[in-house]
């Protein structure tokens, strides 16, 4: 399964490196969201700083939807889904591979967004390691949930509109826990901050496990 996952992930990443969709569409979109939030909240530095963690995670959530849609789209043309199914690759491996590729893109998005927070919003992370751990766990959870729902909506003509409706409420706990953990990291209140990892960790574990288990039956459909 792990070897298959690596194969699928490297395939997706290679497609991404050649098509550059994430680079030219998802990354600018994430920054755009930050700038628009800045417009909406006004230029007061105090407001911006206190809202920054929430805005960061909202931007990450929206980018997750985009990255997931892209991840499904590259399997939708010319019978590639059938090809993937017939290749004898373990469905759990396909799931893990695709999730890993999405996660990699999310890491790029988050690096950029983090820089955006520092530059545009004047945020300083007091406990950077807390923010880092929260981000890693959240990224795993987001990409797993996203790819799972992506598979669910694969092959549907209404995918673009359906996917956000399905994914965003599911990942609401990540938004809550991620924002709170980052707020704690910004203010330096490490104690209450680490307790949010107890939500991000199980969320990631549950959706990775559910994804490995349910990706097989989903691949058979449509």
């Amino acid at each position: 399964m792990w070897r298959d996952a690596l194969l699928v992930a490297s395939k997706d990443v290679r497609i991404e490196l050649r098509s550059r969709v994430a680079l030219w569409q998802v990354l600018p979109f994430a920054v755009l969201v930050l700038v628009l939030f800045g417009f909406a909240l006004g230029p007061g530095p105090a407001t911006l700083r206190s809202a920054a963690p929430g805005l960061y995670w909202l931007a990450v959530l929206f980018s997750t939807v985009l990255a997931t849609q892209r991840s499904v789209a590259i399997e939708s043309g010319e019978g590639t889904r059938d090809g993937l199914r017939l290749s004898g690759i373990d469905p759990g491996g396909v799931f893990l591979g695709k999730a890993a590729a999405v996660a990699l893109q999310l890491v790029a998005v988050q690096v950029l967004l983090g820089a955006g927070l520092v530059v545009l919003f004047g945020v300083r992370l007091e406990a950077w390691w807390l923010a880092l751990v929260a981000s890693v766990l959240a990224t795993i959870g987001l990409s797993a949930a996203g790819v799972l729902y992506g598979a669910l909506s694969a092959g549907l003509r209404v995918r673009e509109t359906l996917l956000p409706l399905l994914v965003l409420p599911i990942v609401a706990p990540v938004l809550i826990a991620g924002s709170r953990a980052w707020s704690a990291a910004v203010s330096g209140a490490v104690g209450p901050g680490t307790s949010w990892l107890k939500i991000l960790g199980p969320f990631a574990a549950v959706y990775v496990a559910v994804g490995i288990g349910l990706y097989g039956p989903l691949q058979e459909t449509s």
Partner: protein, 262 residues
Amino acid sequence: MTAGAVQRTKAVTRWVGLAALVTTGLTVWLGLWVTPPAKVQGTLARLLYIHPPIAWVALYCAFGVAALSSLLYLWRRTRSLFWDRLGASAVEVGVIFTALTLVTGSLWGRPTWGVWWTWTARLTSTALLLVLFLGYLALRRVPAAPEVRARRSAVAALVAFVDVPIVSFSVDWWQTLHQRGTVLNPGLTLKVHGSMAWTMGLGFLAMTLVFVWMVMVRYRIEALADQVGDEELEISLSERWAEGDGPAPAPPRVPEPAGGGR
């Protein structure tokens, strides 16, 4: 299903419906006229006779049934469209009851708390649950072969169901850490006794019966819709065959939709 079974199910549905009507009527009568107004909340406490029962149906009956039937559908040995239809009917009714939970809670919150909505953990997670299962219904409305749709919906319901405890945990923490000390829920600490307790118990029974009745009716509609879809396919197939064969042979006799429209 045989004709006899269909008749039996219809009779059971009718009796359950009647029982639901009677118990609901009794609850309304007891709740509005017989029971006294509560000491602190006055007549507002009468919402207690329907709000908790509605919430019980929405959060436990409906989504419990939906999760269980999705699981049974995905498990190969019990896979049958029965579970798919049951789950779909339960979610649909559950969504209505969840919305009603929010509405009745809001009606009670406005005079009690002074606001229609507060970001308490309970309210927020109920609202999220509503959106989660609206997504399920949206997914179901996408046209697909029954088996494909069933599998997709079952997975979606389970994934959403797994999220429920995580959502409630995180919202709980979020609320308590975010705005400490505003948790007030007098509705739950209210002492209920005497005729009020009886009425509330009856309310639970009434709403559960309404739920069962609605799910049964909804199930039948779903089954009939599938059947009509199959028959339409048969008819158009036979018409296409007839076009190719010159003089048209008699189309295959289509059975009456069992239990439909009569």
